[in-house]
């Protein structure tokens, strides 16, 4: 048995390790307590939704400024500077409350196709920010007052807008179990995307 396992590719071993880890996490008293609590889970989720307004709302307003669709008379750098502390605060609260929500239902979330899409889009949104800040934003003094910023800034704004909208939509859909591992049969592509082995131990119990 052990020799057969070692013959598996490293990615499969990693996948199995993560699966076991999240299964273990779901069995901790912290996780079950949160999952079964009367109000704690709902409260954290409300915080997550409220902070969405702070983080998503202001991020979107900045993206719209980059597109030249709002606050066209306000310097771009001023919007960036004044909003940044709030979006950072919002992001930190989102990440913490999101991590707590994940920890309440870790295995199912890890295997959710929507959760995976959300994480992928989060990484892409982060890359977009890095490219924007190390690229066109370094020369912001040249276009700070432009009612419609240069093309590469507009592209960054549009990408950010699309990604964050996608993240919110995917996040909302995590609640639905259409593609869950414990609902078989699923098309092979779904089981591939959720790294679900229909015979994995414990899936029938959830």
């Amino acid at each position: 048995m052990a020799s057969r396992k070692s013959a598996l590719p490293a990615t499969t071993l990693l996948g199995e390790g993560l699966l076991n880890f999240f299964q273990w996490m779901g069995d901790t008293s912290w996780s079950t307590g949160l999952h079964e609590s009367r109000y704690a889970y709902d409260f954290i989720e409300s915080v997550h939704v409220w902070t969405l307004c702070l983080f998503f709302g202001l991020t979107v307003m900045f993206d719209l400024r980059l597109l030249g669709w709002v606050m066209r008379e306000v310097p771009v750098s001023e919007v960036a500077r004044r909003f940044l502390p709030w979006t950072i605060l919002g992001f930190v609260i989102m990440a913490i409350s999101g991590a707590i929500l994940f920890s309440a239902i870790p295995l199912r979330s890890y295997q959710s196709v929507f959760f995976r899409a959300k994480m992928l889009m989060l990484v892409l949104a982060g890359v977009n920010v890095l490219i924007f800040h190390s690229g066109v934003y370094r020369r912001v003094e040249k276009w700070d007052l432009a009612t419609v910023p240069p093309r590469s800034a507009r592209v960054a704004g549009a990408l950010s807008l699309a990604l964050w909208i996608g993240i919110v939509l995917a996040g909302r859909m995590i609640a639905y179990n259409w593609f869950d591992c414990d609902r078989q049969p699923q098309p092979a592509i779904v089981n591939f995307l959720t790294s679900c082995a229909p015979n994995q131990p414990g899936w029938g119990e959830r």
Binding site: G57, L58, M61, V74, W86
Partner: protein, 158 residues
């Protein structure tokens, strides 16, 4: 027609029935409703942070409010349409859910407050409005809109 009868009529409407029968219509409408919330949040906070003396402090508050206005009204419109559809699919549940009534009361107050008292403060000459009064107005606005959002979230919790 009593209020309950009206809610029953909504629940039995054709639109409500179509949404209830579909496995994905409710989630899809709800997702758009949530996006609308995010946009309203941005438009409201843009103005309220400024009134609190944070955010875009160097910009005139009246100008910021004018900038935010189309986004506020546009997303409010999307919210009311999608919210109405969601309501039609589960009107009876809403009738008996405290969070629904809390949300509707908050929504009514938030809209009235935003377009009367807050509007007056925003459009007034800034030198004549005390910073403390501006802050109070902003805090009330954030609290009322938060009531709408949190109340809405709690309709989904049983």
């Amino acid at each position: 027609m009593s209020l309950l009868a009206f809610f029953q009529w909504c629940e039995q409407s054709h639109v409500g029935d179509v949404i209830r029968r579909s496995p994905w219509l409710f989630p899809a409408i709800e997702a758009i409703h949530l996006l609308g919330l995010g946009f309203i949040g941005g438009a409201v906070l843009l103005v309220d942070l400024r009134l609190m003396g944070w955010g875009l402090r160097r910009q005139p508050v009246a100008q910021l409010s004018r900038d935010a206005q189309p986004w506020l009204i546009g997303s409010l419109f999307v919210m009311i349409v999608t919210g109405g559809l969601l309501f039609l699919s589960e009107a009876i549940k809403c009738y008996y859910h405290g969070a629904f009534w809390f949300k509707m009361a908050s929504l009514l107050l938030a809209i009235v407050f935003t377009f009367t008292i807050q509007r007056k403060v925003i459009m007034a000459d800034e030198t004549r409005v005390s910073p403390r009064w501006s802050k109070v107005v902003a805090v009330v606005s954030v609290l009322l809109w938060s009531g709408v959002g949190i109340g809405g979230r709690w309709i989904g919790f049983s």
